[in-house]
């Protein structure tokens, strides 16, 4: 258990539609699954049927992309009501989203847009996080975003902003070490220094993923294997003492479950964590 009372779940995978059948048929040795909240909270149909069945066998954590915690639009309580209902339905261990905004004036970009890191933004987001946590009656975990642009008006670095936000709102953090790597390249900052500025006792979850190197910039595409440097960053963050669960995201050109599973197992070498079920193949060992 970490300071928020969230369990350390071990090594998990992002749940993706193409793997439903294989998961239900073989019950692979995975400690937990993370779902994209919006893929289920607006559906009353087939996605929920699969999720209910998978939740019978695995702990579920919810990860959202549309909370828009940084937007200057009013908080969307219809969204929050659906989010809470889904959490209660599947018994999700915690709920996370991103430090970003997705739209304003009622229009949605469906992208995770960065904020200017200013005192104005800090005050605004901290207040909204507190409201969301009161509504959910649970701590919210916020993820550091990957980004491709920065604001001239920013007066704080991203990790300092996150640390101050977490302290003011008393929220948890989801540390995506691939995002740290991507943004460090795109903006020219030191990824290790970034990690050093993050309050490790608030980190409840890590994300690792692949990315696409475009030369002038890196896109956080969640495709392909995790690169060595991102694994190293995970190991460094882990060694700092985070009581956190680890999750692999793979969202584009998704390979068979066996391939994703093998990639997840590499996390063991950097986190001293083993899957709670011994693995001889994809199937659970009795």
């Amino acid at each position: 258990m970490n300071r928020f009372g969230f369990p350390k779940l071990g090594l998990g995978l992002g749940l993706r539609t193409v793997h439903y059948a294989q998961i239900l048929e073989r019950l692979p040795s995975v400690d937990w699954f993370e779902i994209i909240s919006e893929n289920y909270m607006y559906s009353e149909g087939r996605p929920l049927l699969y999720l209910d069945r998978i939740a019978e066998h695995y702990p579920i954590v919810m990860h959202g992309v549309s909370l828009s915690i940084g937007s200057t639009d009013p908080l969307d309580f219809e969204y929050l009501t659906k989010l809470k209902a889904l959490r209660d339905r599947v018994g999700a261990r915690w709920v996370s989203d991103h430090l970003c905004w997705t739209g304003v004036s009622g229009r949605n970009s469906h992208d995770l847009l960065p904020l200017p890191y200013t005192e104005e933004s800090l005050k605004h987001v901290a207040e909204r996080v507190r409201i969301v946590q009161d509504f959910l009656e649970a701590p919210l975990a916020l993820e550091n975003p990957s980004s491709y642009m920065q604001f001239k008006g920013s007066s704080l670095s991203e990790p300092v902003f996150l640390a101050e936000l977490a302290a003011r709102a008393d929220c948890a953090l989801l540390l995506d070490v691939n995002n740290v790597f991507v943004s460090a390249y795109n903006h020219g900052f030191d990824a290790d220094a970034y990690l050093d500025a993050i309050p490790v006792d608030r980190v409840v979850q890590f994300h690792v993923a692949g990315h696409s190197h475009e030369g002038t910039h890196i896109i956080d595409s969640h495709t392909g294997p995790v690169c060595d440097e991102v694994w190293r960053l995970l190991g460094r963050a882990w060694a700092a003492g985070a009581e956190a669960s680890v999750l692999l995201e793979w969202d584009a050109d998704i390979p068979p479950l066996e391939v994703v599973h093998q990639e997840l197992l590499k996390a063991s070498a950097f986190t001293e964590q083993q899957l709670s079920h011994p693995v001889t193949s994809l199937g659970r060992v009795a």
């Binding site: 607006y42 996605p47 004036s105 642009m149």
Partner: protein, 268 residues
Amino acid sequence: MTSEPNLQNVQEWLLALITHPGSDEAASSQVATRFGALSVEQVLSEGPRQSAVERLHIYRYAYTARLVECLADDFGAVRYLLGQQTFESMCRTYIATHPSQSPNLNVYGRDFPAFLRQLAHDWAVFAAELAELEWALVQVVHSQSSDGLSPDALQSVPTAKLASLRFVPNSAVRLLRFEYPVNAYLRAFFLDEQPTPPQKQATSVVVVRAGTTLRRIELSAAQALLLARLLDAEPLLQALDGVDATPAQLQEWFREWTEFRLFAALEL
């Protein structure tokens, strides 16, 4: 904008830039006009290898690409029919005129069939009908589905009550009528048979989900007439008026419709 823009100003300015359908230059100049001559270089910093405008372009490109991908997911057969280039061009026009106003991407394509229908192209009606069928599949996937009637539910209705009997439709049912054989085209597309656009031929199809299984059932004109009336909750006797079918045929239709869970309940 005379003073330092606040967070709301910055967000409105940036979203206007990201969603602007024109070139980077057109977006910059037109949006700047609306926001007191606020320029990209004033607000965004350059990166180690890219200018501020090039960095903004990443978000502008991603905005359209994401929504095109969303439409392609929902309307794969329409994309095949139109070809990638025309489909993308149609998507870009749709995106420019239909900004997303919901956090739920599942609903983004709901106006796409109507958008296609009003286009001045000879393929517009068929493309719109194909899109309507694909959109019905999306709707049915996400609709709640009941367990449906038991196979003997009809037999247990007292004869005296049959005339006024009404059927409550399963929420995961859509009945569609077309000028073209749309379902045959979609089936051939799913089977990778590389279908070509068909000649006009009136058809009807009902889409239903039971559990995780989706079905598309083609209907004769008589079946479509009766089913449409039943789904509109017309009493059974009234619904049967003028329907060209023998008692044996009707019995078979009701057996099949019950088996496929088109109805959630009976109202006596």
